[in-house]
Every structure is written in C-alpha cells, then in structure tokens.
Subunit: 320 residues, 2 copies
C-alpha cells in the first residue's frame, strides 16, 4: 500500500535542490547534457549520456562535451532556418531509426509536439520527446457523475493490455498529448470526441479548467520505452460533471473497459498502483481540490500539493 506521497513520487521522481544537503540533486543533474536551439541562450531539454553516445548526430548538431551541451545549428544560407531546424530533428530521428540506435524508440507517428519555451514554432515527434528530455504537455479531464444521494462516482478507463506504455493501467476518461498547433482545451475537445465519444456541446458547456499538474519524471520499465530518460511534464487538468444519461464505452483500441468508481475505490486503486502514474497525480490533485484529502487526515498535505505543481526546468514565461 503506497502513501499519497509515495504515489506522487512515482511520477515526480527526480530529486529536488535542498537547502542543507544538495547531494542527490547535484549528483542527478551533473551527468545531464542540455539541449539548445539557435539564437537562444536558454536550454530546452536534458539528454542523458547513453542517448548522446548512441544518437547518430548529423552535421546539423554541434556537441560540446566540456560544457555538456548539444546545439542545434542555424542552417547557413537558408532563409527559413526555423524550418531547417524542424527538418534537422526529423532527419536525425529517421537516421536513428534506420540504425536501430534506440530499439525501444517506437515507430514513427505523425504526431508532433512543440518544444516548450522555443522562440519559434518547432515540433518533435511524440516518441522522441523523452530522448531530448523536452517538457511534455498533455490535457486530462476527470469525468464524474453523482448518485441520487449526491455521492461522486468517477468514469475511469482501463488501458488495453497490448498498449506499449502502461498496459492494463487505469487512466483519465479524457486524456491526450497537446500536439503542435493546438491549445490544451482544443486537445480536450479532440480527445473527448475521439476517445470518449462525448458530445462537444456538453464539454464546451460543462467542463471546468482547473489548473495544471507538473512533475519531473525519470522513465522506468513500466513506461515501455528507454529507461532513465528525463521526462519533465505538465498536464492541464479539467473537471467535467455529467448526468446519468452519459455512459462511457471504449471507442478505440486504447481502452479495454470503463468503470464507474467511487472516491474510495479510486483511492484504493491508487494505493495499489493501478493508475498510470501521471493519471494518479491528476486524481490526487482532484481529491485535493475537492476536499477528499485534507490537512487534517494527511500529514504530507503541504508537501503533496507542492509536489503536484513542481516548477518545470524549461518553462520560461515571456514576462520573466
């Protein structure tokens, strides 16, 4: 049985800087390489040494082993050097796949995710995000209904057994990655239609944006891909209360079944490690916001709330 803090730690498992003993954080950050884009002094990702060693770097990249930096170079003589950056990353990953440099990289899919904090539009294919340690963005909506006595019941899907990532684990009713060119709420609308067959009008009218959950995760075996990669992440969270007339059924291969679960059943499933870790964090945040976890019954309350909202390493506000 995991404690609530241990549940969060499965997702947010990278050490924190500490006032009096910084050893764990320093040891964990020291071997990381930083990823840079042209004309931009801020880094946008973390690469680990084994990725540096195995990646078939092309002439579009410059490696600085002394400073542990990878720089995507500005294409000489190309007016649209930004487009060239996109091409350089694609070319590199095609080459990596051709050489089978990362056996667990997964097939190429036409899903591009933005490089967070970049000063121009640049995307990277979904499966390669973790290799560069770029902040992943998703949007998750917790969907619930109420019994005749007002008790909250959650619509919870179970992922299919054949999923490459987190098979058989519990998830949010509506969840997906925020792709290049869409906003978090557009992602919710798309996923609500594609995966949950929810009426767009209902989602537009009744869903409530409720903040974000953030973490810094180091990938493990359950994630299905390469192990030890840096996965800082943010999920934009939404709540949706639906009436009894809404019944969820699997509409594609991602989900094997939907379950209507009480607060207590969701809590037990979290404690037993049945939820995908990022989805457990979203449920925990929901429980905090709706008073199902309180300072009175949870000694780690304040620590949990801060761990659910970790400040991301590469999220730069325009106003900063």
């Amino acid at each position: 049985m995991r404690s609530n803090l241990e549940i969060i730690q499965e997702c947010d498992n990278f050490p924190y800087p500490d006032l009096t003993n910084n050893e764990a954080y320093t040891k964990a950050t020291a071997p990381l390489w930083l990823f840079f884009l042209p004309d931009d002094p801020e880094p946008h990702g973390f690469l680990i040494q084994s990725v540096i060693d195995r990646m078939p770097w092309t002439s579009s990249f410059r490696l600085d082993p002394h400073r542990k930096e990878v720089h995507l170079l500005k294409a000489e003589g190309r007016k649209n050097w930004q487009a060239a950056c996109n091409e350089a990353i694609d070319e590199l990953l095609d080459l990596a796949r051709a050489q089978n440099a990362f056996p667990r990289l997964g097939r190429k899919r036409d899903e591009y995710f933005p490089i967070v904090g970049a000063k121009f539009d640049i995307g990277i294919e979904r499966s390669a995000m973790s290799l560069f340690g770029i902040v992943g963005q998703g949007a998750h909506m917790t969907v619930y209904t109420r019994t005749s006595t007002g008790k909250m019941m959650f619509w919870i899907p179970r992922r299919n057994a054949n999923k490459s990532t987190y098979p058989n684990m519990l998830d949010q009713a509506v969840a997906g990655g925020v792709a290049t060119g869409e906003t978090p709420f557009e992602c919710i609308l798309r996923e609500a239609g594609e995966e949950a067959a929810l009426d767009e009008e209902v989602v537009m009218r009744d869903s409530v944006a409720a903040g974000t959950v953030m973490w810094w995760n180091v990938s493990d075996e359950k994630a299905g891909g390469e192990v030890g990669l840096m996965n800082p992440g943010v999920l934009y969270v939404y709540d949706l209360e639906v009436g009894p007339e809404v019944v969820f059924k699997p509409v594609d291969d991602d989900i094997q079944s939907f379950h209507l679960m009480s607060v207590e059943e969701v809590r037990d499933a979290m404690r037993n490690g049945e939820f995908k870790p990022s989805c457990a964090a979203v449920m925990m945040d929901f429980f905090v916001r709706h008073g199902f976890i309180t300072a009175e019954d949870e000694g780690d309350y304040v620590e949990i709330v801060s761990r659910l909202h970790r400040r991301l390493p590469f999220w730069l506000s325009p106003g900063r």
Copy 2:
C-alpha cells in the same frame, strides 16, 4: 496594471534556483543565517544579518558566524528541555522588546504559532515569526454566492485603515493564522465565527478544502513590520458557497466594510494592487481552480500555477 504573474510575484518575491544562471538565488541565500532546534539536523528558519546584529542573544542560544547558524541550546539539567526551548524564545523576545531592538516588532500578543517541522511542540509569538523566518501558516476561505443567473459574486472585506499591516487593503472573507494547537479547519471555524459571524453548521456542511497556496516572501514597507525579513508561508485554502440569505458585515475592528464583487471586479482590484498580496494569491488560485483563468487566455499559466505552490524550504514531510 499588474499582470497575473506580477501579482503573484508581489507575494512570492524570493528568487528561485535556476538551471543555467543561479546567481540571483545564490546571492539572496548566501547572507542568510539558519535557525536550528536541539537534537535536530534540519533548519527551521532564516535570519537576516540585521536581526542577528540587533537581537540581544541570551546564553540559551549559540551563534556560529562561520556556518551562519543560530542554535537554540538544549537546557542542561532540565528534564523537560522542550518547555525550556519555549521559555528561551519568550525570554529572548521580552528582552528584545525591553531594549526596543526592533522598533517595528509590534506589541506582544498571546498568539503562538508553531515552528513548522519541529519534532516537538514549540511555539513562537506571532509578531516574532518573521524575525526567525519561520514558515507562517494561515487558513483562508473564499466565500461566494450566485446571482439568479448563476454568476459568481464574492464577499470581500476591506481591512481597516488603522491596521498596522496592509491597511485599507482587500482580504478574504474568512482568514487567520493557524495557531499552536489548532488544525487549519479549526482555524477556519474559529475565524468564521469571530470575524464573519458565520453559522458554524453552514461552514461545517458547505465549506470545501481545496489545497494550499505557498510562497517565499521578503517583507516590504506595506507589511508594516521590519523590512527585508524572510516570510515563507502556506495558506490552507477553502471555498464556501453561501445563499442570498447570508450577508456579511464587519463584526470587529479589523474590517471596515464588506463588498459583493463580481469576478471582473475582483480581477480589476487585483490588477490595481488593492488586495493584500497573500490574499491576491488565494484569489488567483481560486480563479485557476474554477476556470476563470485558463491556458488559452494567460500566457504565464503554468508558471503562475507553480508559483502559487512553491515548495517550502522548511517543510519536512514525516515520510521524507
């Protein structure tokens, strides 16, 4: 007109450690002294040099200028050395008042706050918390009602003009410091009765615990006390929807008036700097949780959510 991020920064105004340029954080933390209790390797507060210099330290304390540490010593020959710790702090502060070491310290009040993270019960009087840079704990409840068309309206008090701290500024309807021996919700119940004359049964039934807001503040002129002190803080936040039959009126000298304000009016007041900074942070968190600020209309969304939940320097989970 302040941006939402600037509003948060008025409360959370201490620098953060940064991946590539740690200068501001290092410069800000370097001159701080750490405060230690007996038999405990973890620090519990930050003192600035001018407090170290002016405090009339008694023999109950040992100063280590090399390590910049203040140690409250374990009383020799006292079986209940924990009680002696409480007495030593009281004695020190009485002496400081007698010598007028801190002209803006304020009068002694019989309100004791716990030293966060301590392994035994130890309190320090409210007005002296900031001198030791101990994490302050409060509980704030945002109270709202709905118009006949469902529009949310907030009950907002204006602090009295003669308050020593943040005179004339807007506040939360129910707000107070969590004193020694009470839980956050007990604080809400006490303050709801004392300051807002709310029916305890209504608060018990309808209030919703909704998480916490945390920051690391350095005191400025508006706070009314000494300037430049370290004030890490946590507020336990609660929401309460009331019916039209509930009307707020000032019941003591702290509040001059109550106002029923719309989302837009609250937003404008925040932008104009009319809210006490920590109360503005609580309102901002409410707006985030209830979808009045979204990723679509706020470029700093993720940064704001993380800044509202800063990981505190001295909050140690039992399980850590």
